[in-house]
């Protein structure tokens, strides 16, 4: 017998017949669970690749090249800046909601130089809880039911649930390897098919999300690629959310181009940056959105109705750090460039380690991840069943058997592209030498066990 209708109508019975509530206590508990279900906006958004893999980080015996955060310390002046800020009484209390004045002014200085335009610190900048918070604010402010949002695969995994939570439909387009596999592939070999891209735009397209440098591949979109995207945005009158959290991690011979600086793009682009990635302090969770006032004001509305303001002492410290590095911009000891130089060595080392045992790394032009094709290892995982894509199985096997953690790249693609990407895993190389040494030791003895 279907009891559901009885439970559903129970509240009405209670109201109209004035039953003694206490006699229906068992009924109450079941009623409670019915009404306490999640809202439609978060239906199906509870699962997450990190939930599955970050518990691994707690196990010290595992060499963790999975989740993307440095195990190298942040620059000392940034830590000192925080210690100093915490000592100032009023910096322990609320600051301006849309961004602490010291920070937004520093941002407008640094980015004013980068964009080569006057940035209004109060109207064209919003400080958020990490780059993540900026993505959320942009999505909630500007995307809704009926909209489509184009996402380039592989993508930072949060884009899809955020688009869905805003009620919109994600539309995918994969990056494709343009040349046949050789021993030396880099992220520039992954490109968009421009005709395919154009076909994804229609009158419902509200925005396209781009991530440059890209996580996980490390691709830096070239000026001409960005121009092609810009042309489509202008033609179809769409917004562009440009996730540029890794903007300073650019390796030799490559240039980071901001799509917002292309003609016609400033007025339709939100550019996202991150203090966590800029200063190697992911645990500070500060980021920012930069864009035209008529867009930023809507993100500010979301901010004032979701968390109102970000922590003050952290913002002060980031502001001071930015001002210090602003003076050094273009010089080798500017952290924006010195970190990239340090990481380039680690990047090359990691690529070499992987090649030595026969894997094919995709050498990134930017960012701190590298994806690697594991096909050549010929690892038979049929004993692990058919339910998961190969890369998930490979990573789980590698964690268990080799004590080395990575992230499966299909976590960053839509269902239709799984087959294309399931031979890749993602490794993070912003790790101290001892971590990389340990990884190297595991790789060297790979075939021995």
């Amino acid at each position: 017998m279907n009891l559901l209708p009885i439970f559903r109508s129970a509240p009405r019975i209670l109201q109209t017949n004035r039953f003694n509530v206490r006699t229906l206590s068992s009924c109450k508990c079941k009623m409670a669970s019915l009404k306490h279900k999640n809202t439609k906006r978060i239906e199906g958004l509870d699962k997450n690749v990190w939930v599955a893999f970050t518990s691994v980080a707690a196990d010290p015996s595992i060499v963790n090249l999975g989740q993307g955060f440095p195990d190298i310390p942040p620059p000392s002046y940034v830590k000192e800046g925080l210690a100093q800020a915490a000592m100032v009484d009023r910096l322990n209390q609320y600051t301006r909601g849309f961004g602490h004045p010291t920070l937004v002014k520093a941002l407008s200085k640094v980015y004013g130089k980068v964009y080569d335009r006057q940035l209004d610190p109060f109207k064209e900048i919003l400080v958020t809880v990490g780059g993540y918070g900026s993505l959320f604010s942009a999505m909630q402010a500007l995307v809704e039911e009926g909209d489509e949002v184009i996402i380039i695969e592989p993508f930072f995994d949060c884009y899809v649930p955020m688009v869905k939570m805003a009620g919109a439909k994600p539309v995918f387009i994969p990056l494709r390897l343009k040349s046949p596999a050789t021993t030396s592939i880099n992220s520039a070999d992954w490109v968009l098919d421009l005709e395919e891209l154009a076909s994804k735009f229609n009158s419902k397209t509200k925005a396209i999300i781009i991530n440059t440098p890209n996580n996980p591949i490390g691709k830096i979109f070239s000026r001409s690629e960005l121009q092609a995207i810009a042309d489509l945005c202008i033609k179809h009158d769409t917004l562009c959310f440009s996730d540029e959290v890794y903007e300073w991690l650019i390796y030799k011979g490559h240039e980071h181009v901001k799509i917002a600086t292309l003609p016609g793009m400033w007025d339709r682009t939100i550019t996202i940056g991150s203090a966590g990635k800029t200063f190697s302090v992911t645990g500070w969770k500060l980021g920012w959105s930069i864009g035209p006032e008529h867009l930023i004001k809507h993100l500010q509305t979301v901010m004032q109705n979701s968390l109102y303001t970000c922590p003050t002492p952290l913002q002060e410290a980031v502001g001071q750090g930015l001002l210090r590095d602003y003076e050094l911009m273009g010089q080798p000891d500017c952290y924006f460039s010195s970190l990239a130089l340090e990481l380039e060595g680690k990047r090359d080392r990691m690529a070499a380690m992987l090649r030595q045992i026969g894997m094919t790394p995709v050498v990134p032009e930017g960012g701190y991840f590298m994806i690697v094709d594991v096909t050549a290892l010929n690892q038979d995982l049929s004993h692990m069943g058919d339910e998961e894509p190969y890369d998930y199985k490979f990573v789980k096997w590698m964690i268990k058997e080799k004590k080395l953690a990575a992230i499966p790249v299909t976590a960053f693609v839509g269902e239709d592209s799984v087959k294309q990407f399931e031979k890749y895993i993602r490794l993070c190389f912003i790790k101290q030498d001892s971590t990389l040494d340990a990884a190297e030791a595991i790789l060297k003895s790979w075939n021995k066990s």
Binding site: R41, N92, V129, A141, H298, T301
Partner: protein, 540 residues
């Protein structure tokens, strides 16, 4: 070059040339109106052109909105082609053809007028969910206080430092190894959730699971946001007790819910309501607000702005209704440690039948006088908290690590010292108790009628007997308390907050005779405020 006119604006909608059905046209028309308002308010178009555009734009948008309204009612039945009455199809055809004809002509003229060159988007920009929630009193009043360098008893934050033990904990945390500066557990730093669970288990009287029953958030504000987003769907009703912390209403609105208000009122027949305890809910009135659509009720105890601390009996009335109607209780208890005169703070989640339906919100900022740290939490049964976690993981994901570590250390210290004279949770209210009385006396002496709060940071005062001549023309259309507060800032250099801001739009006019003072300030600040009030009173 022809100056832009109402007609040239139309061409920015030139892409509307192909409109398959009227429904799309109408909804996009409404969006265009919003777009017009958006761009016209911030457009980089030069002032000369701008003066033409607003009039033109508004005219166009206005007439289109009018037209869209009457046509919308025609097609209210549905948007399916087959179900449209013939009249609508005729109208649709007409409008489609009209746009198609005008479109190409206009797009040329607009292009000539340079409209497109600005790269301005011609489509609707903002999402409907943020309609009507852009205004905010804090932005306005904190700016005003700063502009006039007023003695600030307005916004609710201490102007004295956090206790030294918490500042030391923060310093220790940030020197505590690289992991203090990198991501921690998304739903709450392990050290923090463990001590919160331990601490509050003792108070609530049940075993709280640190991993399942707690979510750490960016301030209590974000905990409230997660709660509404997780639990309130379009069409759900949320009962809000007035006066309320102003963010509840826009948060309910953003979640698509409908706010239903029930006021605290001075108890009848007890003379002048001199204490927050005299402000009560009418049980009958409260019961009448519950309906089959009621999803949640929001209570705030101790209350901001009134300072009321709900007694056990009052919470029991609310609890009974929650259980009867199967409603979730959102209990904002950020001021839980600040109660005076021996008043006890009671957690509604500890009443029978309430743990499984209550989300209790807390704040490290208010607990440790460090509002700028923005560390808060939501606590409740795992089956409800898991939905808040889903919102959290898809909105900010992590909270700052070092601050959480410091708060954990603070709570461990308080756990060990609970109930003793060294406990900050005892010392702070003792410290504030005196300030509260001092401010109340000062307000009385100048003819204001304060309502002594049983708890919290704030005190409201009745300004109706003051008879000030408020002649500032810039505020003439505003409510009396708004006008008075602005006058007090500009003329006397003292900042407060108008209490009607904490009432629903429907009831605001009935409560425009109160202003709110924050007394959690250094003695020197309170002294400065007293001097201003005394001077004013003497000059009358």
């Amino acid at each position: 070059m022809a100056p832009p006119t109402a007609v040239t604006i139309l061409s920015s909608f030139a892409h509307l040339q192909v409109v398959p059905n009227l429904y799309e046209f109408i909804s996009s028309a409404q969006h265009k109106r919003r777009y017009c308002e958006d761009v016209l308010s911030t457009s980089p178009i030069s002032p000369g052109k701008r003066s033409l555009l607003p009039g033109g734009g508004a005219l166009f948008a206005g007439s289109l909105a009018q037209r869209s309204k009457c046509v919308t009612s025609l097609i209210a039945g549905g948007s399916k082609q087959s179900r449209k009455p013939a009249a609508v199809k005729l109208l649709e055809n007409f409008m489609w053809r009209r746009t198609a004809v005008i479109g190409p002509l206009l797009s040329n003229r607009l292009a000539v007028a340079g409209f497109h060159e600005k790269g301005i988007m011609s489509r609707k920009l903002h999402a409907r969910r943020i309609e009507g929630i852009d205004k905010n009193i804090w932005v306005e009043f904190t700016q005003l206080a700063a502009d006039y360098k007023a003695v600030n008893l307005g916004q609710g934050f201490p102007d004295f430092p956090p206790p030294s033990f918490i500042q030391e904990a923060f310093c220790k945390a940030l020197n505590g190894g690289f992991h203090m500066h990198q991501y921690t557990r998304a739903f709450g730093h392990p050290n923090l959730v463990k001590i919160l669970a331990k601490f509050f288990s003792r108070i609530v009287g049940r075993e709280i699971d640190p991993m399942e029953d707690i979510l750490v958030s960016v301030g209590a504000y974000q905990a409230l946001f997660c709660t509404f987003q997780a639990l309130i769907d379009e069409g759900d009703e949320v009962i809000i007790v007035e006066p309320f912390f102003d963010c509840y209403q826009p948060m309910v609105k953003m979640a698509g819910g409908t706010a239903i208000y029930v006021p605290l009122k001075p108890r009848e027949g007890c003379g002048p309501a001199l204490s927050s305890a005299d402000w009560v809910l009418s049980p009958e009135e409260l019961a009448s607000k519950f309906s089959p659509r009621t999803k949640a009720i929001v209570i705030n105890t101790p209350n901001n702005p009134l300072g009321k601390v709900y007694q056990q009996e009052e919470l029991q009335v609310i609890a009974d209704l929650c259980i009867k109607h199967d409603v979730i209780c959102i209990s904002d208890e950020v001021y839980e440690w600040l109660t005076y005169d021996g008043t006890k703070h009671v957690k509604i989640a500890s009443l029978p039948g309430m743990w499984e339906r209550t989300v209790t919100i807390g704040s490290a900022g208010k607990t440790f006088s460090a509002t700028g740290w923005k560390v808060g939490w939501a606590m409740g049964s795992g089956h409800i908290l898991k939905h808040l976690k889903t919102v959290h993981q898809n909105s900010v994901y992590h909270c700052a690590t070092a601050a959480q570590e410091a708060v954990a250390v603070g709570f461990q210290r308080e756990y060990d010292l609970f109930g003793t004279v060294d406990s900050y949770f005892l010392q702070l209210p003792l410290h504030l108790h005196e300030k509260r009385l001092r401010l109340a006396d000062c307000l009385k002496s100048v003819g204001l009628k304060p309502i002594l709060p049983q708890g919290g940071y704030f005190m409201i005062a009745d300004i109706s007997k003051l008879n000030i001549n408020l002649t500032d023309p810039s505020t003439k259309d505003e409510l009396y308390d708004y006008r008075f507060v602005k006058w007090l800032i500009k003329e006397k250099g003292l900042a407060t907050i108008p209490v009607s801001a904490f009432y629903s739009p429907e009831h605001r006019e009935e409560f425009q005779k109160y202003i709110r003072f924050c007394f959690v300030k250094e003695d020197s600040t309170l002294q400065a405020a007293e001097d201003i009030l005394r001077q004013w009173s003497e000059s009358k």
